[in-house]
Symmetry: C2
Subunit: 191 residues, 2 copies
DNA sequence: CCTACCGATCGGTAGG
DNA sequence: CCTACCGATCGGTAGG
């Protein structure tokens, strides 16, 4: 992939994140790159293709973050690292993460099905984090695994709306984990 | 407001939620109502006005839900009821909640500022729930109030993507609260 | 990478 | 609520 094409893909992600897919015209995209609209079509086949490229980047980044979580670590530790990984992707690739999280519905045809499958698989892997923790021990035995996974992943999926580059995402992930692990109730809990 | 105008607003919310503001044409909206496009303009001044009407409905519904949380209840109970209220709005007005949560950025001018202020105020009220709980007691004294509010409200804000009419939202809110209150760690915590 | 263009569709209006 | 229309813009293409 040429440097120019990479530039186009990056700029497309930025505009799709800022104005939405349907709110971004090929003309605006061309202006952002300093060329005429027609010139874009030597670098990409269509606007849809640019959306799909961003989606693939997002799916790959989020799955790679989960791949880095060690399988043999304690359950609570795995959740902490998974959350760190997710927030790090959002922070370092905010445009890609935003488009992946919010604009997937504007994909057409097979690409839509493919990305939807990636999203489902990602959620599935998060649920496995909790269900494996329950099996191997480390999580309370009466834990509602589905609800716990839904709670954490929901918070993670909303992060693109408030994460700014200046925030320490690792520390924030650890704060979330601390709340999630020991709760908010007001009496001493065992350390 | 005539019944016909209410129908238009409802249908606009539905299409904005399904296809996004920029992905919904006035022609598609007219078709959904079984009239010609030009006829819509006797019921509304513009497409923006329809977006704004939906936003107002959303802001009013979410704030009304928080109004119903008693001020003198214990902190944990207030969080539980606030979460119930939020999820109930999402469940009962899924289209309005979706548009309010996801499409506010496509509002122009003063309406945009107004709705943004409503959203900020809503978040502020959630944070107050936690900070008041910390002051009056009921929450652990070492709680990171900002992180706790961000965690819960983030999860709530993502709910429009997975809440279906068949789910018992009150029960789900209670499950979330249970996890949040006592944590997920695997040893007995005091009841 | 540009110029010039395609048919289709956009939000909105006039006049009835 | 309809018909007929407005200028602007849409994604995309041809030919260079």
């Amino acid at each position: 992939m040429s440097a120019r094409k990479a530039e186009l893909t990056r700029e497309a992600a930025r505009l799709f994140a800022e104005r939405g897919y349907h709110g971004t015209s090929m003309d605006a995209l061309a202006q952002a790159l300093g060329v005429q609209k027609g010139s874009l079509y030597s670098l990409t086949g269509s606007k849809q293709e640019l959306l799909y490229a961003t989606m693939r980047d997002g799916a790959d980044a989020f799955h790679a973050a989960l791949d880095a979580v060690p399988e043999d670590a304690p359950a609570v530790e795995r959740v902490r690292l998974a959350l760190r990984g997710h927030l790090r992707v959002v922070s370092e690739q905010i445009d890609v993460a935003t488009v992946f999280t919010r604009e997937w519905r504007y994909l057409d045809g097979e690409h839509r099905e493919e990305i939807l499958a990636e999203r489902r698989r990602y959620e599935e892997r998060w649920r496995a984090l909790f269900s494996e923790g329950l099996e191997k021990g480390g999580l309370r035995t009466d834990l509602d695994v589905a609800a716990a996974a839904l709670l954490v992943l929901s918070a993670a999926n909303w992060a693109y709306t408030w994460l700014t580059p200046d925030r320490d995402t690792d520390e924030l992930a650890d704060r979330f984990t601390a709340i999630l692990v020991d709760g908010i109730r007001g009496y001493a809990t065992p350390r």
